[in-house]
């Protein structure tokens, strides 16, 4: 699926959300793009709940929505957060 392709084929229920994150994390300008992530994710066919979980950085909710744990971690670090702070952050993160 290409984020900008209107005729992109549908994927599995978890596909678009994972696609959105991996495209951001793999982008050479990821550090700059994260500053305006709403604009970046606007091109992806996400549900309102998925989009909100991304924008509000709801780590645990992202997992429950099917994001691969590796990508949750990379998305976390992309926010400039220290890796060693992740366990506490996800423990404090709401599942909803």
């Amino acid at each position: 699926m290409s984020a900008n392709s209107p005729d992109a084929p549908p994927g599995s229920p978890r596909y678009a959300l994972n696609r959105a994150i991996v495209d951001l994390c793999r982008n050479p300008n990821a550090r700059a793009l994260i500053a305006n992530k709403a604009e970046f994710f606007a091109a992806y066919p996400l549900s309102a709940e998925e989009r909100q979980a991304l924008l509000d950085a709801k780590w645990r909710r992202l997992l429950e929505l099917g994001v691969l744990p590796n990508l949750v971690y990379r998305y976390y670090m992309l926010h400039g957060l220290a890796p060693e702070t992740f366990p506490a952050a996800i423990a404090a993160s709401s599942p909803n």
């Binding site: 994927g11 596909y15 050479p28 645990r60 997992l63 590796n70 971690y73 992740f86």
Partner: protein
């Protein structure tokens, strides 16, 4: 005919290079010493070529096209890919490979039901390059990288990984070349990355796994279920590389080089070798 001359297994986390201060220095020293022993064993065995088996971390593959097993078929590869976008602590470099050996495994496998995905250009990630930084930083040993999906479910079963490992040994023995081949498995043991379990290490599981591995009880490892493995951490699935190695050396005992549950690295770190 080619000969299998050495098996090495090690955890592969990059923290041993780029985040050492997070862990207890005593444990880091034990992990370092283990790498030194494995490096010496690799130099002593002097393989003409080695297979290095690892999962990877959504850097090459994604769920739009996720193979269970893949082999790099080229004369060289490079990595770690992470070093191209941030200060990763491991220099980006090229690693010599062995196209002819890879082609032998691929063609034989495709004829015998081991349907490898083939990679003809690959910037590998830390799963390969962190261990190589410690084992062979100068790139003196040609390496053929082998991917096993250990992180993006659904994953190949331990039973299948063991069978592919057994097949690898057989395929190496049928390589019509006067060559010595080593196999290096990287990853594990229990750990989680990006999940609510991150920080927890299942020491009991790790010790059982390592005991079975070192006793040559690969059949016991093959009987592990995906659910059992997943219960010990979101990234423990990487032990599939160890199970493949156990298959390649079926029934052979291994020497436990080290095991430390390194809290600062969030990982049960282990190393073993099979001579």
């Amino acid at each position: 005919m080619a000969q299998l001359c050495l098996g090495l297994a090690t955890s592969h986390l990059a923290h041993i290079v780029n985040a050492r201060a997070l862990a207890d220095p005593r444990q880091v020293a034990i992990f370092d010493a283990g790498f030194q022993r494995l490096a010496e064993a690799l130099d002593e065995a002097a393989p003409d070529v080695s297979l290095i088996i690892s999962a990877e971390h959504v850097n090459k593959f994604f769920i739009d096209n996720m193979p269970a097993f893949a082999i790099g078929m080229f004369d060289e590869f490079a990595g770690p890919v992470e070093s191209k976008t941030r200060n990763f602590g491991i220099p980006y470099r090229r690693v010599p490979s062995a196209l002819g050996f890879a082609r032998h495994l691929i063609e034989l496998g495709l004829d015998e039901g081991v349907d490898w995905a083939v990679i003809e250009s690959w910037e590998v990630d830390h799963g390969f390059m962190a261990p190589l930084f410690k084992l062979d930083p100068e790139g003196r040993h040609p390496m053929v990288p082998v991917f096993v999906n250990g992180a993006s479910p659904p994953l190949p079963s331990p039973r299948r990984c063991y069978a592919v490992g057994r097949w690898l040994a057989d395929a190496i023995a049928r390589w019509d070349a006067d060559k010595r081949v080593a196999i290096i498995a990287t990853g594990g043991l229990s750990h989680s990355v990006g999940s609510v379990q991150q920080g927890w290490i299942d020491v009991d599981f790790d010790r059982r796994f390592l005991a079975d591995f070192c006793a040559g009880r690969g059949d016991a490892l093959a009987k592990l279920s995906d659910a059992e493995i997943r219960a010990t951490g979101s990234a423990t699935g990487e032990i599939r590389s160890w199970i493949m190695l156990a298959g390649a050396f079926a029934g052979r005992t291994a020497e436990e080089v080290m095991y430390e549950p390194i809290k600062g690295f969030d990982t049960g770190c282990a190393q073993a070798l099979i001579r």
